[in-house]
Amino acid sequence: MSRRSSDDAPAVDGPLRPSDHLDKTGDDEPAFSGGQPVLGVVGWLRWGWRQLTSMRTALVLLLLLAIAAIPGSLVPQRSADPNGVTQWRATNPDLYPTFDAFQLFDVYTSVWFSAIYILLFISLIGCVLPRTKHHWKALRARPPRTPARLSRLSDHAETTVAVPDGEDAAGHAAHAVDLAEAQLRSARYRVERYDRNGVASVSAERGYLRETGNLLFHGALVGVLISVGIGGGFTYTGQTVITEGDGFVNSLGLGYTSFNPGRFVDTEELTPYSITLDRFDVTYAPPSGQAGDFEAHVTTRFPGQKAEDQVIEVNHPITMAGDRVYLMGNGYAPTITVRNGAGDVVFSESVPFLPQSPTMTSQGVVKIPDTGGKQLGLVGFFYPTVAQLSSGALTSRYGDLLDPRLTFFVYEGDLGIDDGTPRSVYALDTDGMTEIAGRNAPSPSLELSPGQTVDLPGGRGTVTFEDETRTGAPESVKRYVSLSIHNDSSATWVLVFAVLAMVGLFTALFVPRRRMWVKATPDGDRVRVEYAGLARGEDPAIGVAVAELAKRHGRALDDEPASAPASAANVN
């Protein structure tokens, strides 16, 4: 072996760690001499790199990362909760610009958050690469020479044994070490003999997996980050709303109410499958009427293939051409028919109403640009099981269709949709309109039960709340579902790396890495046998392991018929 022979210190050529790792002896401090920096540009760069890849920097960056992540849980985030941001802005108009300037609404994509994790990962890579190289070498190296004085190690045991008749002390020493070698090897140690001047010794090491696990863990973290980073570019998500009896086609122009593609997504290349909502089931648990067991029964179809019946449930998305289709929400879509004063049908559609409460009080909007006269806008409330509050206002007291009721405020004027400004279908901008029926109008709001028709004020026509059972439907009001469609092929990679990290972590934390030595020294007509162990990293059981080795080895020596050859040693 080419190791320098420091006879006193136990061999410490363990895994290469950053210079401020506890294992390290302090011999590779930055090259300052007498307080004078004697560094050129390269020296400074090297020094900077060493700082960045030091344990302390990694630690500080980790703690910074933890702190930096917190604001995102206190301030609403555009990515997770865009409405929350709008609301926050409305309540704190003065603070908003400052918060926005610090990117507090986009914490996880902000410059400062990114800077921390990018630095952390550079540090990580700078740390892991040299360690990997070093570990690669260590994996093929032999266990280091036995230290001269094992008694200096804190986990140490010693005993003397008598030399059996007919054997000389040196022979017995070698024999004892043979036995130890076999025992250590069967305990999955890598062993190396160092016999010198009649003193026999074996040096053993195990637990290389510990470092392998550590490197795997850190490497897999990089894998997770890269998968997330690259994967984001190929991900798309879209939302759509389907009413019972209607369908959706997976194509940008046709099906989606909103669509967010990643940078590299070719939106022309979507597979044009279709999904039709046949029926939406839900159960209501008395007494509160909590809704559950949502099931969207759909028919799915790929072009030119046979249709297939499927069920989409919460927690159980279906997969279509690599897209995962999730059930995100549901509600009622009352079918409303509006006729103008002349009796012509100017509107007839099932309109999805947005649920506002657990009992499904829902709100929806009807916009009728072409009435033959002024444009009409209706703001509706739907109560699946109507009840009256003491204030006189209506509410719903149960989510199911026990006593459905629909009310409308009616507005007349300019809907504001002709100039091409995109408007939400769930909101009515009443700025350019006058209320003609409702709280602030001469006529009261309209109120309808399924199948009923009421007049609009001033002979403007009629509104009908269609009863769907008349067309053979099982319920008087149709339901709708909102679906979310996601394609994220990187998720698999993220999972693979996450699992690798987990495996690596487990090995890195729980596989003990230790060295053991057994040395037998002839001493007159006896042999002195020493055992010692050295933990590499956390190893609570090292003391026990040394004692155990000493015990087992001693027992094996005792049990053995004195003259038996070493190779017959019974190792258990």
């Binding site: 506890l22 390290k24 849980s73 206190l74 990515s79 559950g292 949502f294 999972l495």
Partner: protein, 339 residues
């Protein structure tokens, strides 16, 4: 009487017995203090007789530490016969059985696993803390933590019973998943290990302060004073630290699993595996803090007191996540059952 009523009854019985256990363990600590003071006085007297000064020597300190380490690792039958500590263990065990009963009956009442709202998280989580504690007692004599653990349990469990109690309601759809069983259970188990690490880190800080004072007093005549003399019967700060670390890394591995399992569940329920939802943020923060703790333990200048603080910060974040975040922070994970 419904199963849920029985559960509540068992729970309050358990809390009452935990309180008695707390008292027993507290008396135990007081007795240990007395013994420690007596031992010191005796030694001082002996020294004064031979006119060698009243202070402690380094050898005294090391001998104390060695004795404490042996005591820590002694098999149950060979442990110090602290009467009140034994009583404490017995009471804690009885309380634990009632606690398990409360948890199981709650599960039967609900017809599902009893961990799906804040009340039930507290019920099951604290049960796991005691379970881990009692299990660990077989291997290590950690009875000195008994007062701390029982105190913590009484506060958390009593608080939950008063503030978080909700009637059994059916699960909301996103919760109907095997991941509820796995993810939440493993998270609670991880927290239990973190709790133990936390307790040890707190004692470690007290101990290391006492050690500093004791070492400074070496060679002087003054006998070192501590406000908590029982610390002298406890393992050294270093031993406490490595024990805390052992629990923390088990907690960390379980927490890592929690994080991954949560992401898989989120991917099934919400269509994305990670979205920095408030609860996700805090799970991540806790994970990173404990990664920091593990690093600190391996970084020169950070082992010891500083890393102990990280363990304390980490567990504080766990508690914060469970109480404040569950209750007051907006997000998709609104499963506290409180409104």
């Amino acid at each position: 009487m419904s199963f849920d009523d029985i559960s509540v009854l068992l729970l309050w019985t358990a809390i009452a017995i935990y309180t008695l256990g707390f008292l027993a363990f507290t008396v135990d600590l007081a007795r240990r203090s007395e013994l420690a003071i007596k031992a010191q006085d005796a030694k001082t007297q002996a020294r004064t007789l031979v006119a060698a000064g009243g202070g402690q020597t380094i050898e005294d300190i090391r001998a104390e530490e060695a004795a404490a380490k042996v005591a820590l690792e002694a098999a149950p039958s060979q442990r110090g016969r602290y009467l009140f500590a034994r009583l404490g263990v017995v009471l804690t065990t009885i309380a634990f059985l009632f606690h398990v009963g409360a948890d199981v009956t709650r599960g039967i009442a609900a017809g599902r696993v009893p961990w799906s709202n804040n009340y039930e998280f507290a019920l099951t989580g604290t049960m796991l803390v005691v379970m881990v504690f009692l299990t660990v007692l077989v291997k290590y004599d950690l009875r000195f933590l008994g007062a701390f653990i029982n105190g913590l349990i009484v506060v958390l469990l009593g608080g939950a019973a008063l503030a978080y109690y909700v009637e059994v309601v059916p699960l909301s759809d996103p919760l109907k998943s095997v991941w509820l069983v796995i993810h939440v259970f493993v998270a609670s188990l991880a927290s239990a290990f973190y709790a133990l690490a936390f307790a040890l880190s707190v004692v470690q800080l007290l101990q290391s302060r006492r050690e500093r004072i004791a070492l400074a007093a070496v060679g002087t005549d003054a006998a070192p004073r501590t406000r908590l003399p029982f610390l002298r019967t406890l393992p050294s700060a270093e031993v406490l630290e490595s024990l805390a670390y052992r629990f923390a890394i088990i907690g960390f591995v379980l927490w890592t699993f929690t994080l991954i399992a949560g992401a898989i569940w989120a991917n099934d329920a919400w269509g994305r595996y990670w979205g920095f939802d408030t609860k996700e943020v805090w799970t991540f923060v806790i994970w990173v803090v404990y990664a920091g703790y593990i690093h600190a333990r391996a970084t020169r200048g950070w082992r010891g007191t500083r890393s102990a603080w990280l363990s304390i910060v980490g567990f504080t974040a766990v508690l914060f996540n469970f109480t404040i975040v569950n209750q007051f922070f907006q997000g998709l994970h609104s499963y506290s059952g409180l409104s």
